[in-house]
């Protein structure tokens, strides 16, 4: 009996001290972690968006469509619409999830995209992050049927040996552009002072 009490007391004490330490650390790092995440988003936005002078990560337009939640980040230069960016996710990558950030020009063409997360095969599927594949989309105007792989009847050249990865990215971009096209007017108006 006495022994059991001792075991319980010791284990409880150690766990309590551990809990205190963790609470303290969590308290101290919560701020910097949130900041690092924000800086990461802002860096991705700066990469894909045309030059802007507002805070696109604070000027957002959200919509639920196709069973996904879309958040458009809106860029403005001198008060007028300079472009929008949106995060798109595909679960159809060879290694599962692929997350990309897409930048859209004011004339509705795609400006650039950046892969935020991917677990594709190094050296094959991971080439979706490389310029050779990426440049195919740059400044391409949005005609839904052409934004497919060539073997799916579109105009995008797949990466050799990585059709699945290429298709996943292409599809993620097409879906995002589709949602954008349907809400373009609302997105352009977001953040402007309401007109009577």
């Amino acid at each position: 009996m006495k022994e059991i009490v001792k075991l319980i007391v010791v284990l409880t004490l150690i766990s309590a001290v551990a809990g205190l330490l963790l609470a303290f650390t969590n308290n101290r790092t919560a701020g910097p972690i949130a900041q690092a995440r924000k800086a990461e988003v802002l860096r991705a936005l700066t990469d894909v968006l045309p030059p802007f002078d507002n805070q696109p990560n604070e000027t957002v337009f959200s919509v639920d469509e196709n069973g996904q939640h879309w958040t458009f980040f809106i860029a403005r230069q001198n008060g007028s619409f300079a472009g929008a960016a949106v995060e798109s996710v595909s679960m159809k990558g060879y290694g599962g999830l692929i997350k990309i950030m897409i930048g859209i020009n004011p004339d509705n063409s795609l400006r650039r995209f950046k892969v935020l997360e991917q677990q594709e095969t190094p050296g094959l599927g991971s080439k979706i992050t490389e310029a050779v594949f990426r440049s195919q989309f740059e400044n391409r105007s949005f005609i839904p049927d052409t934004w497919r792989l060539k073997k799916d009847g579109g105009e995008i050249e797949a990466i050799t040996g990585a059709t699945i990865s290429s298709r996943a990215v292409t599809e993620a971009i097409r879906t995002a552009a589709d949602v954008y096209a349907r809400h373009a007017d609302e997105i352009r108006r977001t953040g402007l002072p309401a007109t009577p």
Partner: protein
């Protein structure tokens, strides 16, 4: 038993990955670049250092029957601390290492050293042991990372955030398999064989030292030994 002696043994004679063959999961999983090896190795060293010191401090206070849960709680606490700290101040590395930082807690080197060394030795020696084992682990996974990254990706990355990267001339076509899972096994197997070869040569040159086959070696078993002198656990 001096500080240096305890430290030195982790660097060669009982180097975690190659001699004691502990910590295989992170070794195979994250060594696709030198950078990952450095990040993982230093993070594990930090956890090992803290957990060894704490376990050693509390060694008379922790009852034998609950020692394993206690060791795990201690290791988990320090792992979470470094996880949060790295997420806050070394965000890029934290992203690259992903799931492997939380998994430090089940890295058997940590528990192995707590059980086999720190719970039986004073704090000073436990710290020496942790530094030696930690650096030995870091060194070992960096070597595996170096071979795999060089062969499989044609580069050597020390720290990508500061641009410390060296690439081989573009004419070299990387051998992809080396950065995939099989490459990890191949590299590790060759390094283990090399290590045994070196040890064998050393043993032969030492007069009066009969080379014992590892499978007949009692050092790795704690069943019939009293708690006093067991410095290795496998």
């Amino acid at each position: 038993m001096g500080f240096w002696k305890e430290m030195k043994k982790g660097l060669w004679d009982e180097i975690p990955v190659f001699r004691v063959v502990l910590g295989m999961c992170p070794t195979l999983a994250i060594t696709t670049s030198v950078e990952n090896g450095i990040g993982m190795g230093l993070a594990a060293t930090f956890v090992l250092l803290c957990s060894n010191a704490t376990v050693s401090l509390l060694r008379h206070f922790i009852p034998d029957k609950v020692r394993i849960p206690c060791f795990i709680v201690i290791a988990a606490t320090f792992t979470t601390i470094i996880d949060l700290t790295m997420n806050a101040y070394a965000h890029e590395v934290h992203r690259n290492l992903g799931i492997f930082i939380p998994l430090i807690v089940v890295n058997c080197i940590i528990l192995g050293r707590a059980e086999a060394f720190a719970s039986r030795h004073p704090v000073r020696l436990s710290i020496a042991d942790a530094i030696g084992m930690g650096l030995g682990f870091t060194f070992a996974i960096c070597i595996v990372g170096l071979i795999r990254e060089l062969a499989g990706n044609g580069s050597v990355t020390l720290w990508s955030a500061t641009g410390w990267q060296w690439r081989v001339p573009a004419a070299y076509q990387p051998t992809l398999i080396m950065v995939l899972a099989p490459g990890g096994f191949i590299t590790l197997g060759c390094l283990l064989a090399l290590m045994n070869r070196i040890e064998w040569h050393r043993a032969q040159r030492t007069p009066g030292y009969a080379y014992q086959p590892r499978e007949l070696d009692c050092r790795h078993c704690v069943i019939c030994k009293p708690k006093t002198h067991v410095s290795t656990l496998s």
